[in-house]
Amino acid sequence: MSRPSATSNRKLIIWLMTGAIGMFGFGFALVPLYDVLCEQLGINGKTQSTASTYKPMTIDTSRVITVEFMANIQQDMPWEFTPEVKRMQVHPGELVRTNFNAKSLALATTVGQAIPSVSPGQGAAYFNKTECFCFNQQLLAAQSSAALPLIFYVDPDLPDTISTLTLSYTLYNITDKGYVGAVEQGAAK
């Protein structure tokens, strides 16, 4: 083997540098890739972030699915946040409406964002929301409260192994984050 020429060194350096820069980009490409994979495969309990439309379908009355609701708040969120009912029995294909109650304890207007998560994760793709307060940021005036609506149905294709779905919301305080288009909830009750 002959000694290297300067050009062959330079060529190799350029290749390797391109590889390194490409991998830096790949690190960031993992972010959308992760979201797409989670959403498509319905893993990680991620539910769809836009409303689905309900087409009339046969309601499978032979199956009963227990749906449980949980509400969590991040520690710096000055709201009370609870589901109206903690658990309910639904049939797959049935359109169901329920509410979550939010009450602001803050002395100023606060904005919250609820993030849903379904457990078991494999059930997330079958839990469809036609209307959800989690699609928007929620704005509450000081000391006011509101009923936040949720309308959903469970897809009849839900695997037989799943008989209970738990929907958990975590409410985050995003007042300082420069919110846009928050939905203002009704006057104080």
Binding site: M1, S2, R3, P4, S5, A6, T7, S8, N9, R10, L12, I13, L16, M17, G19, A20, I21, G22, M23, F24, G25, F26, G27, F28, L30, V31, Y34, D35, C38, L41, I43, N44, G45, K46, S49, Q74, Q113, I115, S119, G121, Q122, T170, Y172, N173, I174, K177, G178
Partner: protein, 536 residues
Amino acid sequence: MNTTTREANMDAAHIEESNEHHEAHPTGIKRWLFTTNHKDIGTLYLWFSFIMFLTGGAMAMVIRAELFQPGLQLVEPNFFNQMTTVHGLIMVFGAVMPAFTGLANWLIPMMIGAPDMALPRMNNWSFWILPFAFTILLSSLFMEGGGPNFGWTFYAPLSTTYSPDSTALFVFSIHIMGISSIMGAINVVVTIVNMRAPGMSWMKLPLFVWTWLITAFLLIAVMPVLAGVVTMVLTDKYFGTSFFDAAGGGDPVMFQHIFWFFGHPEVYIMILPSFGIISAIVPAFSRKRLFGYSSMVYATASIAILSFLVWAHHMFTTGMPVFAELFFMYCTMLIAVPTGVKVFNWVATMWRGSLSFETPMLFAIAFIILFTIGGFSGLMLAITPVDFQYHDTYFVVAHFHYVLVTGAIFSIMAAAYYWLPKWTGHMYDEKLGKLHFWCSVISVNVLFFPMHFLGLAGMPRRIPDYAIQFADVNQIVSIGGFAFGLSQFIFLALVIKCIKGGEKAPAKPWDGAEGLEWTLPSPAPYHSFSTPPEVK
């Protein structure tokens, strides 16, 4: 071949400058600051790594002193967390990785018959930015609010929402370490691809060169991903992005996926060069050729490829789908196959060999046995259902210290003993070396072996205080820790003694050793091969 052409080949951009400085050796501090010589830079790397080893070790001593008995005695819990975090960062990025880069600098040109590294000026840079990185990292410990306290894995949201104000310094120090590693890796690849002596074909390369070549590709592939993920932490914390913040549409679990996509290949970055070292030392002291050379090369390559497919075995408890858990479990177990090939090859090399037990060989044998123990506990951790019990316990701590301390660090010690005569021109003190070995190997097992039982009994890692039933075993572990720490001063004394003087070393002090580096006189001349050697 005349000097001008050779210099031109090394770095075309500065031909003129090269010639001017060629024979001028600056002395004193300037020699070290401006050096482009692979041996000088190798020496700098190795000393830097040893200083970091002692620094990280001192932090381990703080941890073990606090854990000597239950309750909070010596340090605040927050400071304890900073100690575990910075201990991990220093040992990974400051001790093990620079030690391997130092060995690569010293040895690769000599092993492939090249005069120097291919990119000597970049080499100087890649070393000299390291001290700044670690100064930044260590200085953050003295800031108000303290240094990084979120574990070396800096999981979000610990490193974003709940991290101290000094997190930016942590991020920048990781950036600098990453740039240094990438430059070092590029240098290694270019050197190996373009600077081999005539006749040094791929399948004649010493295994240390092979393993480093593969390691360099791993570094180029994953260090940028680490740079990316720390950048995301930086922007999440300071610039209002929400990569890992669920409130803004991000996901903290995604942090773990990206981090371990870097993190698992990183684990092999810290062990593959060890395999190369052991593959040089075991044949030398068995006076036999290495058994299964080509299978060693293929095994190393397969380990490197598989390392990209196993990252999620660090996160079995994050609620992954069963399918993913099974996939990552089987892929992880598959790695035991090429690793087993290596271990059996080393044992087969020793089989019916004419063995002698000088210090490098002792460390190499200890490596094989103790690294295998670490490998087996790794297999146990790979089994998804039982990982739910082991996760985040001292069992994990025992596992990765077996592979990193008695694996990576023992191999570095073995390498230091093996090549010290070549580096210094003097034989080291064999009695002192054996003393260092036996003190280390006994204390390291007192230190890490009982941790397996602590973990199985349920002691969580990264805690400054623990339930009272763990007290006795923790005391034993701490005593082992102090003894292991003190034993390393024997090594320091030995190295200093060896540099200052001692029996003159011949060109080839080990009768069974093979490789081009032993054809050079000891100590190795400032420029390795002025004319390329003939490789048969």
